[in-house]
């Protein structure tokens, strides 16, 4: 399989890939899995309806798997469901992400429904980037739904980034965290123009000694709108923290709504939320090192969303 330059460029932006990865991988291009490779310990099989896959990782596996999605056909709209079953005591990195190129006037949309079942003692690092490009009036839309089950002693860190160019997104994430399991969700969002982004995250800590953490960093520019809800539900003795940090610019609007629900007196849940513009002293500092004001803004935003 050979990718054209446009697809390779998208692939590189969302997953840093410059060639077809070795080992287990699933690359979806314009509604079809064009690369689907299993490895000795990671099996990727198609769902019956063809719209997605089931990935099973054998216990004790250490591996990196790439599962990017590319949409380059005008007006393509798809819903894809993937299931990831991570075997006991594995240590797995999954690099996902979706890039849409849409130069037309028809909307392109990718709705990804991901379910993660992380078996006892397993560790998962999940990296997902969303990116849109193309000058047409057609929107680039992503609606990811993520369900995560962390079994006893499992841990996961999930980095979900919306780089730029995404006109509309509704992200829904729900997790269930069992005994001594831990989950950290890092979400980074950049919106500009008339873009809208909504994200609902709910972590349910249902096992003793479980922990959950939601860290959100976002930048809203121009007239874009962001709504971020982050809920931590502690049903037993557990710890959890929510931190939402946003930079607002121009005429943008941001709603940041952290919610803590404790159903046990031993649950320790905290939250911090801050929205503000770029501090003048930060700009002045970087300009005193020789940057122009625009370069200073770019450096601050890039760092903030890194």
């Amino acid at each position: 399989m050979k990718f054209d330059n446009l697809s390779l460029e998208l692939l590189n932006t969302i997953s840093d890939l410059t060639k077809i990865p070795e080992g287990a991988a699933n690359i979806r291009l314009d509604g079809e899995a064009v690369i689907r490779n299993s490895s000795e310990n990671v099996t990727i099989t198609p769902r019956e309806d063809g719209q997605g896959f089931i990935m099973e990782v054998k216990p004790g596996t250490r591996e990196t798997v790439h599962v990017p999605v590319l949409l380059t056909k005008t007006g393509l709209q798809e819903t894809v469901a993937n299931t990831f079953i991570i075997g006991e005591n594995s240590d797995i990195t999954i690099i996902a992400g979706c890039g849409i190129h849409n130069p037309s006037h028809a909307d392109s949309r990718h709705d990804g429904v991901h379910e993660f079942i992380i078996r006892p003692g397993a560790r998962l690092k999940y990296i997902e980037k969303h990116y849109g490009q193309g000058q047409g009036k057609g929107k680039k839309i992503f609606n990811p739904t993520t369900k995560i089950s962390l079994q006893i002693g499992a841990s996961a860190e999930m980095e979900m980034t919306q780089i730029k160019g995404v006109d509309d997104t509704f992200r829904s994430t729900i997790a269930y965290i069992e005994d001594k399991a831990s989950l950290k969700i890092v979400e980074r969002l950049m919106t500009d123009g008339d873009q809208e982004a909504k994200s609902d995250v709910q972590l349910n800590i249902i096992g003793r000694g479980g922990s959950g953490q939601i860290l959100s960093r976002s930048v809203a520019r121009d007239k874009s709108i962001q709504v971020f809800r982050a809920a931590l539900v502690g049903r037993v003795e557990c710890t959890g923290h929510v931190e939402c940090d946003s930079i607002i610019m121009d005429n943008a609007r941001i709603s940041s709504i952290p919610e803590l629900v404790a159903e046990d007196s031993e649950a320790v849940l905290t939250h911090e939320a801050a929205i503000g513009k770029i501090a003048g002293e930060q700009l002045v500092k970087l300009m005193s090192l020789g940057l122009t004001e625009q370069e200073a803004v770019d450096v601050i935003l890039d760092g903030f969303l890194r």
Binding site: R217, V284, K285, L289, G290, T292
Partner: protein
């Protein structure tokens, strides 16, 4: 040469009227010398530094660097002309590392020089280079990061604003050694240090006392020590406790 000519600057006062904080200031700084600016709080020392860097604009008067008038140049233009300012209270940046900031200060700096600069200010590169310049750093660490950027840049005019503030005693001594070796008798640089620290004053060629937005005195340490003795000793006691005393 850096020349400040007849500078006036007014800020908004408490009662809505303007308050003049620099009042007809005239100063000249020559290459190859280290200058100390000292004097009581609120006297205008930091304002002078910010006027030179372009952060503050004067109501009237001119600033010249090597005979070029720079009064209307932007902050970044002045940085490119060779002026750098180590802030008294440097800002924090979420997501930017110490390495990022030093590389912005000196694009293309190699790893050896970068690590050497970190060690100069008492920060172990292995522990600190990749740390965020964010809330995780203490005030003293922030100050050292700030000084590291300034040292890395090697500018023609270098202004330090109370480099000793918040820095532990051991690091201050090390820092003074670095300032001495880098700037003393350096024919390519003008170094201005706003300070109340007696040990820093000792390495300066001239001391300028600023009060009420004007030069109250200017001369060598011996010539003007009697004017600043009380202020300096008081500040030293705040930083070091009663145990340290200095011979005049």
């Amino acid at each position: 040469m850096l020349k400040l000519e007849n500078l006036y600057m007014t800020v908004d006062g408490d009662n809505g009227t303007g308050r003049e904080i620099i009042r007809g200031l005239n100063l000249e700084f020559e290459r190859g010398k280290i200058y100390a600016i000292t004097g009581p709080n609120g006297g205008g020392k930091t304002s002078i530094a910010k006027l030179v860097m372009g952060i503050f604009k004067p109501n009237s008067g001119q600033i010249y660097l090597n005979d070029e008038e720079i009064t209307n140049l932007s902050i970044s233009e002045r940085a490119h002309r060779g002026i750098i300012y180590a802030f008294q209270q440097p800002p924090r940046f979420k997501g930017l590392t110490i390495e990022d900031l030093i590389k912005i200060a000196r694009p293309g700096i190699d790893q050896l020089a970068l690590r050497g600069t970190m060690r100069d200010v008492g920060l172990c590169p292995e522990d600190y280079l990749l740390r965020d310049v964010g809330p995780g750093l203490s005030g003293g660490e922030m100050k050292r990061v700030e000084i590291a950027q300034v040292l890395a840049r090697s500018a023609e005019v270098t202004i330090f604003d109370e480099p000793e503030a918040g820095v532990d005693l051991w690091t201050i001594q090390k820092l003074i050694g670095i300032l001495y070796s880098k700037f003393k008798d350096n024919p390519d640089s003008i170094t201005i240090i706003i300070t109340h620290n007696e040990n820093i004053l000792r390495i300066c060629d001239e001391i300028i006392v600023i009060q009420n937005g004007l030069v109250q005195a200017r001369g060598t340490r011996e010539e003007i020590w009697h004017l600043i003795k009380d202020d300096v000793e008081c500040k030293m006691k705040e930083q070091c406790g009663e145990l340290l005393t200095y011979e005049i």
